[in-house]
C-alpha cells in the first residue's frame, strides 16, 4: 500500500496534490494510506475525497483513501486531435480550440469553423511563410527615417498624399479579408490561421505607415472615390475563402506588388521610399501564400479553375458600370514618375505608368498560369481584372 505522509502540509496549502499523485499510482479500489498533522486535515481530506468520489476511512491515526472508479471517467473516451506535425483531411468541430496533438475530453462543445477541410485552405508552405513573416516584422518607429526633412513642391506632396489615401483604403480591405477568414479557419490548421493573422497585422502596419507619411506635411488626407470603394467592396463581400484569396492575393496584392515597387522607384523622398520598400516586402509573402494554397486546391480539384474564372467574370460584370481607378490617383502616379511639369517629363511619366500597367498585366498572367490556367485563359482573365488594381 502506498503511504503518503503530508507532515504538517494541509489541504488548504496544496496537500491534495500529494494525495492525488499517490491515488494516480494505485489501481481503482486500491487504498492509499494518508498521514499528516495539519490542523483541519481530517475535515478537509474527507470533504475533498467526497467531492472526488473517493472513499475515506480513519485508519491507525491516519486515513485510508480508496480511489474512485469514476476518477478516470473524464478521460475514458478522450480523443487525440491528430499529430502535432501533420494535418488531417477534415478537422472535427468538437476538437474546437484544442492544440493539434492534444487530447480532448469527450463531449466537448462543437465549434463552428466553416473552413475545416485540408483541401479548402491548406498549403504546405504555410508554416515556412509564417516563420518568414514573423522574422520579417519591422518596427515602423525605427525602420523608417521619419526625421528626414521633406520639402517637396506642393503638387508633388499632394500627389503623394492622394496616392497614400488610395493605398490606405486598399490596405484596409486587405486587412479585413484575412482577419475575417482567420476566425473561420479550424485551429487544427494553425499555420494557416497564424499566417492570416500575421498578414492582417502586416496590413495594420501598412495602414499606419501610409497614414503617418501622408500626415507628415498635410493635416488632411485626399480623395476617395465611389469606383475605388465599389471595387474593394466586391472583395470584402466575397464570402468564399478560396475566391476571396484568389481575388485579393493573387490578383489584387499581386498587382499592388508592382505598384509598390513603382512607388519605391519613383519616391521623391526617403520616407516614402522606405515605406514602399518595406510594404512591398510584406506583400510578396501575401501573394506567395495565395498562390501556394490555390495551386494545391486546383491540383486536388482541377474543376476549381472554372469557379475561379467565373469569380473574376462576376466581379468584372459587377464593376462594369463603375469608373475603376481614381483618375486623381492615375494622374498622381504620372506626375510622380515625371518628377516635373515639362511636357517631356510628363510624357516620361506617362510612359512609366504604361509600363507599370503592362508589368501588372504580365505579373497577373504569370501567376494565373502558376495556379494552373492555360496561357490564353490567363490572358483573358487578367484583362478582366479590376481597373482599380486591387
Amino acid at each position: 500500500m502506498i503511504v503518503v505522509d503530508l507532515r504538517d502540509l494541509g489541504l488548504d496549502r496544496g496537500g491534495h496534490l500529494l494525495v492525488k499523485r499517490a491515488l494516480g499510482r494505485s489501481a481503482a479500489g486500491d487504498a492509499v494510506a494518508v498521514r499528516g498533522s495539519a490542523p483541519g486535515l481530517a475535515v478537509d481530506l474527507k470533504a475533498w475525497c467526497r467531492s472526488q468520489g473517493h472513499e475515506v476511512e480513519a485508519d491507525d491515526g491516519g486515513w485510508k483513501v480508496r480511489r474512485s472508479a469514476t476518477a478516470d471517467g473524464r478521460w475514458r473516451r478522450a480523443e487525440a486531435t491528430g499529430d502535432p506535425s501533420a494535418v488531417v483531411d477534415d478537422a472535427p468541430a468538437h476538437w474546437g480550440l484544442a492544440a493539434r496533438g492534444a487530447t480532448v475530453e469527450a463531449g466537448a462543445p462543437a465549434f463552428d469553423f466553416p473552413l475545416h477541410t485540408r483541401d479548402a485552405i491548406w498549403a504546405d508552405e504555410a508554416a515556412a511563410l509564417y516563420a518568414q513573416a514573423a522574422a520579417a516584422q519591422w518596427d515602423p518607429a525605427t525602420a523608417i527615417p521619419w526625421q528626414t526633412p521633406i520639402d517637396l513642391p506642393d503638387e508633388v506632396e499632394d500627389a503623394i498624399v492622394q496616392i497614400l489615401t488610395y493605398l490606405i483604403e486598399n490596405e484596409t480591405a486587405a486587412l479585413v479579408v484575412p482577419a475575417r477568414f482567420a476566425a473561420q479557419v479550424h485551429p487544427h490548421f494553425r499555420e494557416v490561421m497564424q499566417l492570416l493573422a500575421i498578414q492582417a497585422a502586416d496590413e495594420a502596419r501598412h495602414i499606419e505607415v501610409f497614414t503617418r507619411r501622408a500626415l507628415l506635411r498635410r493635416s488632411r488626407l485626399a480623395l476617395s472615390t465611389v469606383g475605388g470603394q465599389a471595387s474593394l467592396k466586391t472583395l470584402v463581400d466575397e464570402a468564399d475563402f478560396a475566391l476571396a484569396s484568389f481575388l485579393l492575393s493573387v490578383l489584387g496584392e499581386g498587382s499592388f506588388l508592382n505598384l509598390l515597387r513603382f512607388l519605391h522607384e519613383h519616391a521623391p523622398d526617403p520616407v516614402t521610399q522606405a515605406v514602399m520598400r518595406l510594404t512591398a516586402q510584406d506583400e510578396a509573402r501575401h501573394v506567395a501564400f495565395g498562390i501556394a494554397h490555390l495551386t494545391r486546391h486546383v491540383e486536388a480539384d482541377p474543376g476549381f479553375l472554372t469557379r475561379l474564372a467565373s469569380a473574376v467574370e462576376r466581379r468584372h460584370d459587377a464593376l462594369a458600370e463603375t469608373a475603376g481607378l481614381n483618375e486623381e490617383v492615375f494622374d498622381a502616379l504620372v506626375l510622380l514618375a515625371a518628377g516635373a511639369w515639362q511636357p517631356e517629363a510628363i510624357e516620361r511619366g506617362w510612359d512609366a505608368v504604361q509600363t507599370l500597367q503592362r508589368a501588372m498585366e504580365d505579373g497577373r498572367r504569370q501567376r494565373l498560369v502558376r495556379i494552373g490556367f492555360a496561357a490564353d485563359a490567363a490572358a483573358a482573365l487578367s484583362a478582366l481584372h479590376t481597373r482599380n488594381f486591387m
Partner: protein
C-alpha cells in the same frame, strides 16, 4: 406532454436551468418523458408537491423534513428515492481565528458566532444545534450573526457561509459555521487564508438533498425515473458535464436515517412547525 413525469426544484442559481434542461434531453433520448418546474423557494415547492402540482421534488434536507412531517400529519407518506453520492455523510465545522485565544466551543460563551442563511441546515441549523447540545443556547449564551443570502433556498447558495467566513477573517465575529467542503473550498479560494483559522468543533454526520415522492406519485414512472437516474455514468460524456454542474459523481439510492441531526435541531428551534401545521391542514 401530459404524461411526462414532472419534477419540482428550486432555482437557487441560473445553472439550475442548464442542469435540468440537460437531464430532460438525456431522459428524452432514453425514451422517458421528463419535465421540470422551478420554484423560487422550497416552501413553495413543498406546498405545490402536496397540492399535486409536481410528481416529485428535488428537496433540500429541510424541505425533506417539511414534506415528511406534513405527510405524517396529513396521513400521507413521503419517500426519498435517490440522492447524490456527494450528499452523504456531510459534517459542518465551527471555525475561529487561530490568534483569537478561542480554543474550544465552550470558549464561545458571550461571543458572536456567524452563521449562514436562517434556513440553512449546514450553515446554521445543524451547527447551532450542535452548540446547543453542548450547552450553549444560541441568542442567549452567545450572539448569533446571520448572513441571510437568499432566504427560502435553504442555504443552497454558498454566499451566506462565505459572508460569514469573511466576517470572521475581518474580525467582526468570533467564530463562523460552514459545511466541511466549504472549509476546504474557502481555504483553496483564499477566503480563509491558510493557517489563519482553527476548527473548534465538528458536527456529526448528516445527509443533504434527495428526490422526494409522495404516496400518490405515478409508481411506474417514478420507478423508471429512478432506474435511469441510478444508471447515469460519469463515463458518459453527455451526462458528465451535468453531473459536474450538479456536483456529483453518481446517483445513489435514497436513505433517510441521516436527517436525524437536522430533525433534532429544528425540534429544538421550532424552525418549521408553523409551516408544517399550515400545509398539513390543507393537504388532508
Amino acid at each position: 406532454m401530459s404524461e411526462a413525469l414532472v419534477m419540482g426544484a428550486v432555482a437557487y442559481d441560473p445553472k439550475v436551468v442548464t442542469i435540468w434542461d440537460g437531464f430532460q434531453r438525456w431522459f428524452a433520448e432514453h425514451d422517458f418523458a421528463f419535465d421540470y418546474v422551478l420554484y423560487s423557494n422550497y416552501e413553495r415547492l413543498v406546498e405545490a408537491h402536496f397540492h399535486g402540482d409536481v410528481d416529485l421534488a428535488w428537496n433540500s434536507p429541510l424541505a425533506w423534513l417539511q414534506a415528511e412531517r406534513i405527510a405524517d400529519r396529513a396521513g400521507r407518506r413521503a419517500e426519498a428515492i435517490a440522492m447524490r453520492n456527494t450528499d452523504c455523510d456531510l459534517t459542518s465545522v465551527i471555525v475561529a481565528r487561530s490568534d483569537s485565544g478561542i480554543e474550544s466551543a465552550a470558549d464561545l460563551r458571550g461571543k458572536t458566532v456567524a452563521v449562514g442563511a436562517a434556513d440553512s441546515p449546514q450553515g446554521t441549523l445543524i451547527p447551532l444545534g450542535h452548540l446547543a447540545e453542548a450547552g450553549l443556547e444560541p441568542d442567549s449564551d452567545f450572539t448569533v450573526r446571520r448572513f441571510d443570502v437568499l432566504l427560502g433556498k435553504h442555504g443552497d447558495h454558498v454566499g451566506g457561509e462565505r459572508d460569514a467566513a469573511k466576517a470572521l477573517v475581518r474580525g467582526e465575529v468570533d467564530a463562523a459555521c460552514m459545511i466541511d467542503f466549504n472549509h476546504y473550498f474557502f481555504g483553496k479560494e483564499g477566503t480563509l487564508p491558510s493557517g489563519s483559522t482553527r476548527i473548534l468543533a465538528q458536527t456529526g454526520e448528516y445527509d443533504h438533498c434527495n428526490f422526494t415522492v409522495l404516496d400518490d406519485a405515478p409508481a411506474d414512472s417514478i420507478q423508471r425515473f429512478r432506474e435511469l437516474l441510478l444508471s447515469m455514468s460519469y463515463d458518459d460524456p453527455q451526462v458528465r458535464p451535468l453531473l459536474d454542474l450538479e456536483g456529483l459523481k453518481q446517483w445513489e439510492p435514497g436513505r433517510t436515517e441521516k436527517y436525524a441531526l437536522l430533525a433534532q435541531a429544528i425540534d429544538r428551534f421550532g424552525t418549521i412547525d408553523e409551516f408544517v401545521a399550515r400545509v398539513a391542514e390543507s393537504a388532508k
